[in-house]
Symmetry: C2
C-alpha cells in the first residue's frame, strides 16, 4: 500500500509526524511505501539527522511548498494553496499514486480536499467522518462527526451502512447494533430529518437497527454504532474530550486536597485508564465514502498516534472496506437525493 | 408566591415529591402557598400519614385525576388527558391562580402544556429550557436543552438575552460571557442558522458575546452562557450525564482492582465531588420565556431536588426576571420572525 502522509499537519509537525512515520516502518509490509508530503529539503534534512538511509526503500518524499494553517478557512485554503501538503497529498491519491492519505492538519481543509479531489465511492452521496469512542462497554463507532453539517436522510442511511462495515471489519463486532442520535427514545422524538432517516434505516433488514438513542446511551453499551448529523457529532466528540479532561483534573484536585499519598497511589490507576481507553490507540478518524483511505488525526497528535494512524490506514485498505461499501450500496434498494 | 407542584410527576412520585414539598415548608415565606396537584384523596392520605396538620396554611390540594406517563407522546397526552396533574397545574398558572409550576414528570408534556396554556412573555418568540452545568470553572448556563428543536436565529438571540438575565440574577455573574455552540472557533464555522444567529447576537452591544464555542469549552471556563439549538443542547445534557456516570463507574472498577483500601479512601472524595458539582443543587431546569415560572425537574428527582426546585422557583419569581426579560426585549431593536 502507498500511504501519503502530510508531514506538515498538526501542532507538532513536522517532527512528531516524521517520528511516527519512522516508528511505523518496522510494521510495514515490504510492498508498502510511505510518501512524506511537505517541503522536500526540510524533510530530507530532518530524516538525515535521524540517520535513516536503511529505510530508504520504504520512504519517498514528494515536495509541497505550502502549509495550510490550523485556523485557515478550509475551502479558501484549498483553493489558494495549491501547493500545500494537504492539496498535494490528496492529488497523489486522486492521480492513483497513493492508496491512502493521513493528516493531522486542518481537518476541514483535509475533508474538503479529499471530497474535491478523490471523489466519492460509487453509490455514496456524501462522505462522513467516523470515530471510535472507547467505552467501558466496548468501542462505539460514531458517524458523522463533522464532514456534513446539513445531513439529509439518505446520508444518515449511508453512514449507518458504512459504519456497520467499519465496526464489523475493524472492530470485529459481528452484528453491530445501530442507533440514531435523537432527543428521546420514543419514535415520535426527533426532528423531521432524523425521523425520515429512521424510516430509511429501518427499511433495510440487513441493518440491526435499534432506533433512537440519547446522549447518555453512547457510554452505556446500548449500541455499537451511533449515527448523527456532523454538527451534533462534532459537539459530542469535543464535549467528551473536554469533559473527560475536566473531570480528571477535578478528581486530581480533590485527591490532592485529601492527601499526597492518595494522589500518588491514584496516579498509576489514571495512567492505566488512559492507556485502556485512549482514543490515540485508534490513530484517528476515518473519512468514509471517498475513493481511497483517508485518516484524519487530532491536531495534537504525537508520534504514537501517527504510527497508529498508519496501522489503521493499512488495515482499512487491506480489508477492502471501500469495495464492500460499493457492493452493499449497489445491492441496496434504498436510494435518495442529497438535496 | 403560589407554586403549583405536580405531585404525580417523576419516577418517585408521589412520595418523594410530597417529601420535597414538606422539606421546603420551613424555608417558605408566610405568604407562600404550595399547591399540590394530583388525586386529592391519595395526596390527603399520604399527608395525613405524615402528620401534617401544622402546615395546613402553607399547603393546598387541587384535584387532578389523571397522570401523564413518562413515555407518552407529549402533545397527544396533553390533548387527551385534560385532567392530568400537568394539565391542571398549568391551567392554574394560566388562570392566575398560581405564579409558578414545578414538575418532575414527562418533560415534553410539561413544556408543551406550559407553552399552550401559559403563553409567552411579551416579545418572546419561543420559550427555551435553561440548565446550569456546575463546572470546575464555575456554573455555565445552557439554553436551549430541548424545548425547541428547530431554532431560528431570533430564538438563539432571545435565549442569549434570557440566559444572561438568569446568569446575572440567579448566579450573580455580573457580565456573563455568551458563546454559541458551533463546530469550530472561527467565524466561518457552523451551519447557516448558527451563522445568522451569531450576527444577531453580535449586533446587541449589551451582550458580552464571545462568538463560537465548541463542546470542549463548556467545561473549560471559556463562557458563562452557552446558547444552542434544543436538539444539540439535549444531546449535550444527556451525554454529560451518561459520561460522568460512566466515568465514575470506570474509576471505581479500576480502583477496586487495585485495592479495597484505596477504594475505601476514595469514596468520601467522590461523595464530596458529587455534593460540590451536583446539578440537583439547582433543583432543575427553567423553562424561560413563558408567563410564570416553570421549573422542570429530572424524572429521577428525589425530595432534595424538589425542595431545591421550590427554592429556585421562588428565587426566579421574586427577582422579577420575567419582568426584566419583557423590558429588555421591548427596548431591543432586534426583532425576527419565528418562521
Amino acid at each position: 500500500m502507498r500511504i501519503a502522509l502530510d508531514a506538515m499537519g498538526g501542532d507538532f509537525a513536522p517532527d512528531e509526524i516524521l517520528n511516527g512515520a519512522l516508528e511505523s516502518i518496522p510494521h510495514l509490509d515490504k510492498d508498502d511505501t510511505l510518501i512524506l508530503v511537505g517541503p522536500a529539503e526540510l524533510i530530507e534534512s530532518k530524516l538525515s539527522a535521524k540517520n535513516l538511509s536503511k529505510f530508504a526503500d520504504a520512504i519517498k518524499i514528494v515536495n509541497a511548498t505550502e502549509v495550510i494553517g490550523m485556523d485557515e478557512s478550509p475551502i479558501d485554503a484549498i483553493r489558494k494553496k495549491r501547493d500545500s501538503s494537504i492539496s498535494v497529498m490528496t492529488k497523489l491519491a486522486a492521480d492513483g499514486q497513493a492508496d491512502g492519505v493521513i493528516s493531522a492538519g486542518n481537518t476541514g481543509a483535509c475533508v474538503a480536499a479529499c471530497q474535491m479531489r478523490m471523489r466519492n465511492i460509487e453509490g455514496v452521496n456524501r462522505p462522513g467522518i467516523a470515530v471510535v469512542f472507547p467505552t467501558f462497554e466496548g468501542p462505539v463507532t460514531m458517524c458523522d462527526v463533522g464532514a456534513n453539517i446539513a445531513c439529509k436522510p439518505i446520508n444518515f442511511y449511508q453512514y449507518a451502512v458504512m459504519s456497520c462495515l467499519y465496526s464489523k471489519n475493524l472492530l470485529g463486532i459481528a452484528n453491530p447494533r445501530v442507533g440514531i442520535m435523537s432527543i428521546g427514545e420514543e419514535d415520535a422524538k426527533g426532528n423531521e430529518t432524523v425521523k425520515k432517516a429512521r424510516e430509511l434505516i429501518k427499511s433495510d433488514p440487513k441493518i440491526n437497527f435499534i432506533g433512537n438513542i440519547e446522549g447518555r446511551d453512547i457510554f452505556k453499551g446500548k449500541c455499537d454504532v451511533a449515527i448523527c448529523d456532523g454538527f451534533v457529532g462534532n459537539v459530542v466528540l469535543k464535549l467528551t474530550e473536554g469533559l473527560v479532561d475536566g473531570l480528571f483534573k477535578l478528581i486530581k484536585h480533590e485527591i490532592m486536597q485529601e492527601s499526597w499519598f492518595l494522589a500518588w497511589k491514584f496516579k498509576p490507576i489514571v495512567m492505566r485508564m488512559y492507556r485502556k481507553y485512549d482514543y490515540n490507540e485508534y490513530g484517528g478518524a476515518l473519512l468514509m465514502g471517498v475513493n481511497g483511505t483517508c485518516v484524519i488525526c487530532h491536531g495534537s497528535s504525537k508520534s504514537r498516534t501517527i504510527k497508529n494512524a498508519i496501522t489503521a490506514c493499512r488495515k482499512f485498505h487491506n480489508l477492502g472496506i471501500n469495495g464492500q461499501i460499493k457492493e452493499y450500496l449497489a445491492a441496496s434498494a434504498i436510494r435518495g437525493a442529497d438535496e
